[in-house]
């Protein structure tokens, strides 16, 4: 266990500690609500990060998936169904939408993947906007209730904190798994993986289903948080901000999406209280981060740590620091060998 790993673990423990203790630190309901917004946005960004970091698939349509799930819950709530049924409908809608996204995008990559997902997000937006008998059109659906047992703002806060930790853990585990390694193989060279006998499209579809399902879950949390959904949740603007959060925090890093989400949400909701030209500030932050920390905040921080380590006299460690996430190069030989039997997944 090297020094940077210790630092990483301490940081994570501290982060969780602060997260858990937050409601007891004299914070108001508003602060908790704001942090909840950040965590939900961070969770959604993490699902985008998984696809782009491990799969090299930059999605510009994840807002659409989250919104579809939120609309599912909203519609169920409008029909007078109980929260349990809301969850069922939301998950059903999410699975269908993710499957359609995955199916239509699995044969594309790079810029074309970006465009297909953008197009699909726009279709969801269009439906939310025009299908007003189901979605309430422009005005959206209001008054969506969350379950009684997480009704209080602080119980709900713990609920989403737990959901976030679980999601992050899950994505981390998947990313470290053989499946994640194969995804990275596809990211780096589709043709090589294909010639090795991998069904590239199925892998991509599976990755998309995973990411989409979690994104739908985040969408459900969002609607439980605000009790409200409208077409803007599916808009291009939202989806662009999601990928922006990921790049800002650092593509492929574990906590990058959360950092990116925090910056965007705080500028939008807090800085805008005091600075009228806050969109300019937000734009400048994007530009400056790219100029001075090209790998995003966490990505560049990880690089910096590694560079300092190199100067360190202690023996080099070939595992990447935990903060570096998916930048870790997987030896292709070993990877492919260990999955030769599983290539037709799923």
């Amino acid at each position: 266990m090297n020094r940077s790993r210790i630092v990483g673990v301490i940081a994570i423990v501290a982060l969780i500690g602060v997260g858990v203790a937050l409601p007891y630190l004299g914070t108001t309901a508003y602060v908790i609500s704001l942090v909840s917004t950040i965590i939900i946005a961070g969770m959604l960004a993490a699902t985008v990060n998984f696809l782009v970091g491990d799969g090299g698939m930059a999605s510009l349509g994840h807002g659409g998936i989250a919104a579809a799930s939120a609309y599912g819950a909203g519609w169920a709530s409008k029909q007078g169904f109980d929260p349990g049924m809301q969850v069922v409908v939301a998950i059903g809608v999410t699975l269908v939408v993710s499957f359609v996204y995955g199916l239509l995008s699995m044969r594309t990559s790079g810029i074309y993947f970006l465009m297909v997902t953008l197009a699909l997000g726009m279709v969801v937006y269009g439906l939310a906007y025009r299908l007003s008998t189901v979605t309430g059109g422009e005005n959206g659906i209001t008054g969506i209730r969350r379950p009684e047992w997480i009704f209080e703002y602080w119980t709900f806060y713990y609920f989403i904190l737990g959901a976030f930790i679980l999601t992050t853990l899950l994505l981390w585990v998947v990313s470290r798994s053989p499946f994640g390694a194969s995804l990275r193989g596809i990211r780096d060279s589709e043709s090589r993986m294909r010639s090795l006998g991998y069904s590239v499209a199925s892998y991509k579809l599976a990755a998309f289903m995973m990411s989409g399902t979690l994104a739908g879950f985040a969408g459900l949390l969002a609607v439980w948080h605000t009790h409200f959904v409208s077409p803007s949740a599916a808009g291009v603007h939202r989806s662009v901000l999601l990928i922006v959060m990921v790049i800002l925090g650092g593509v492929g890093t574990v906590f990058g999406p959360l950092i990116g989400a925090a910056i965007v949400v705080l500028v939008e909701n807090v800085l805008s209280n005091s600075i009228e030209r806050w969109p300019t500030i937000l734009g400048l932050i994007f530009i400056l981060v790219i100029l001075f920390a090209r790998d995003g905040i966490m990505g560049s921080a990880a690089k910096l740590v590694r560079r300092m380590q190199r100067r360190d006299p202690s023996p080099p460690d070939d595992t990447a620091p935990p903060l570096g996430g998916a930048e870790e190069p997987i030896p292709p030989r070993e990877t492919t060998q260990s999955h030769a039997s599983r290539k037709e997944l799923p």
Binding site: A58, M115, M122, F286, I290, R294
Partner: protein, 288 residues
């Protein structure tokens, strides 16, 4: 709904809107073709061109001066964006996305600070006024003029691409960047030049378009979306594709509004999704 005159009028409505879309999308697709950048600040360039064009055309009463003013300012802005920012992240898709989004945020917000939130439309004194009557059909002259401008620019782009040395360099650059560097052409300046030209096309679109749709806060996202749709349908990097995509979307939009009004707006995105399913690289795009 189906009378010949109404159909003809709708066709012209669609074609003229399509012409505006072409002005908008051609720059985006050219830049993509050569530099592989999706310039998400393209809409912001359109916006700046539109605001300046309307203001200058209003002051001078001359549309051409308005266009030139818009083009000049946007060209300088685009040059700075390329030279100071984009050069540092050449070839890295995601940082390019973030950079151009950032530029778009800043430019649009500064436009709001400078020009206020009022919608700006070209004053009629600076527009080609009146309407033409052909047979039984009356149609605004200005919209015919927009179609003309789009055709002229489209033909000019085609000629430059096929008949000139610059065009040859650009075409070579699209196919193989290393080759033209090896030929002794400084590809970095070719890129810069193309980026500026693409932005200038957006600025022209902004000023001319202000006679049809007013320039206002938020227009940058709306027109970017239209341009992306057109470019996706036509195929990224293809100017003929942009032309076909523009006309297609213009016509679909016009007729959908009349015939399937409940799906209007949605009908812009549905064909895009369809094209992507059947031919992910677009109608005229080369296979990746």
């Amino acid at each position: 709904m189906f009378e010949p005159l109404f159909l003809l009028q709708q066709a012209l409505n669609g074609l003229s809107f399509g012409a505006l879309l072409f002005l908008l999308a051609s720059g985006l697709t050219l830049v993509f073709g050569l530099m592989r950048i999706i310039n998400l600040a393209h809409g912001a360039f359109y916006m700046v061109g539109g605001y300046l064009g309307v203001v200058v055309a209003g002051l001078t009463g001359n549309l051409l001066l308005g266009i030139l003013a818009g083009v000049a300012v946007v060209a300088v802005t685009a040059f700075l964006v390329e030279f100071v920012l984009l050069r540092f992240v050449r070839g890295q898709e995601l940082p390019e996305v973030l950079l151009t989004v950032g530029v778009s945020f800043v430019v649009a917000d500064l436009c709001l600070a400078l020009f206020g939130g009022d919608p700006y439309t070209l004053p009629s004194s600076a527009m080609i006024q009146g309407s033409m009557t052909i047979g039984g059909l009356t149609y605004p002259t200005y919209r015919i003029f927009v179609i003309g401008v789009a055709i002229v620019i489209g033909v000019a782009l085609a000629l430059v691409q096929t008949r000139t040395r610059v065009g040859a360099i650009v075409r070579a650059g699209v196919d193989d960047r290393e080759i033209i560097s090896a030929m002794g052409v400084n590809i970095r300046w070719v890129f810069t030049g193309m980026f500026v030209v693409g932005a200038a096309l957006a600025a022209i679109g902004g000023t001319i378009g202000a006679g049809i749709i007013s320039v206002r806060p938020g227009i940058q996202d709306d027109v970017l979306l239209y341009a992306l749709v057109v470019v996706i349908i036509g195929g990224l990097g293809s100017v003929p594709g942009a032309a076909v995509g523009s006309v297609l979307i213009g016509l679909i939009d016009a007729f959908a509004k009349a015939w399937i009004p409940d799906l209007a707006y949605f009908t812009i995105f549905a064909p895009m999704a369809l094209v992507l399913v059947l031919r992910p690289t677009g109608l005229f795009g080369r296979t990746a």
